[in-house]
């Protein structure tokens, strides 16, 4: 649905651009192609690694571990899992929800969900390619630390 809108939008702007200036439009496509070339192989690798991760570490097993481990250790473990794997929201949220209802630690669930979206170990090579090593390391590292802080506050508030 979203992607359909994107395709229509891209096509529409491309046609408008083509009508106004042919040369500029060709240049814009060159820019797009350059980006694609620089990212394609790394994206393929990332996606393949995700395939391996999810085959050997299925979301069910991850959520079980996240639900069982208690205390600070559980929070750290949950944050680590969330950093490494890449699961789409429509799989991750229902899983996390069922765990929470079964009485899992709110801190651990919050840590897992937060690092899941903010920290990306498998996408790091791609991020390095576009932003450099320092940026990638610090953005992910800081996000990890703040995810733990968010998780601990949530644990204290929600019990």
């Amino acid at each position: 649905m979203f992607s359909l809108i994107l395709w229509i939008l891209a096509a529409l702007f491309l046609i408008i651009s083509l009508r106004r200036n042919k040369e500029k439009t060709i240049n814009s496509l060159k820019v797009a192609l350059k980006f694609f070339r620089s990212m394609a192989l790394l994206i393929l690798i990332t996606i393949w690694v995700i395939g391996f991760l999810l085959a050997f570490l299925p979301p069910e097993i991850i959520s079980k571990t996240v639900g069982q481990e208690a205390g600070f250790k559980g929070v750290i473990l949950a944050a680590l899992f969330g950093s490494i794997v890449l699961i789409q929201a429509f799989i991750a949220f229902p899983l996390a929800g069922s765990l929470l209802r079964q009485g899992a630690n709110a801190s651990a669930i919050a840590a897992f969900v937060t690092t899941l979206v903010m920290v990306g170990v498998v996408t790091a090579p791609l991020e390095v390619k576009l932003f450099g090593r320092k940026f990638t390391f610090w953005r992910n590292f800081l996000s990890f630390i703040f995810a733990i802080i968010i998780a601990l506050i949530m644990g204290a508030v929600l019990g």
Binding site: F13, L29, F52, A55, V117, G120, F135
Partner: protein
């Protein structure tokens, strides 16, 4: 020495690993391929139009516009704009990377690009609705309320640490 870790070598490594897994457990090997295929289809449905839009953005939008809206001097207004641009997110984080690079090239500040990336990753309207549905309003609301100041803090710290050492001309 460094040349060992090339992308092509890594592809071969993954391919051999996949074949090796297939020999021991064909089901697992197939599930690796199947999962990857799903993610690949997701990527192919989103990335090409985004890249076309980035290309058009680079050609048509003058540098001064982005510099004014999201540049060094944009202060609070720039942070606010970055939040808005980030919430217009569609798709996974790696789609946001080339957009971020493009914004940097057009003169957006590192602080604002970092905010844009973090917001894209964590605050999407459909995702919030989904979280409320499955984790409850208290959980989702509190997490969102804590995430927003944390994103600003992360970006301010990141900006301080990196200062001006980022490589703008990576591509």
């Amino acid at each position: 020495m460094k040349r060992i870790f090339t992308s092509t070598n890594f592809i071969f490594l993954l391919l051999s690993a996949n074949i090796l897994v297939y020999l021991f457990n064909s089901q697992k090997a197939l599930s690796v391929i199947l999962t990857s295929k799903n993610y690949l289809l997701e990527m192919l449905s989103i990335l090409p139009p985004i890249l076309i839009l980035i290309g058009l953005f680079e050609v048509w939008v003058p540098k001064s516009v982005i510099e004014k809206a999201m540049g060094q001097a944009s202060k609070i207004k720039g942070i606010f704009i970055s939040f808005i641009v980030g919430t217009a997110a569609m798709g996974p984080l790696y789609v946001a990377f080339p957009i971020g690079t493009s914004l940097l090239r057009k003169g957006a500040s590192l602080l604002n690009v970092s905010i844009f990336l973090c917001v894209w990753a964590s605050i999407k309207i459909p995702m919030i609705l989904f979280e409320i549905k499955f984790l409850g309003f208290d959980f989702a609301g509190l997490r969102l309320a804590l995430t927003i100041p944390c994103i600003v803090a992360i970006s301010l710290l990141l900006n301080m640490i990196l200062n001006r050492s980022i490589n703008h001309e990576k591509i």
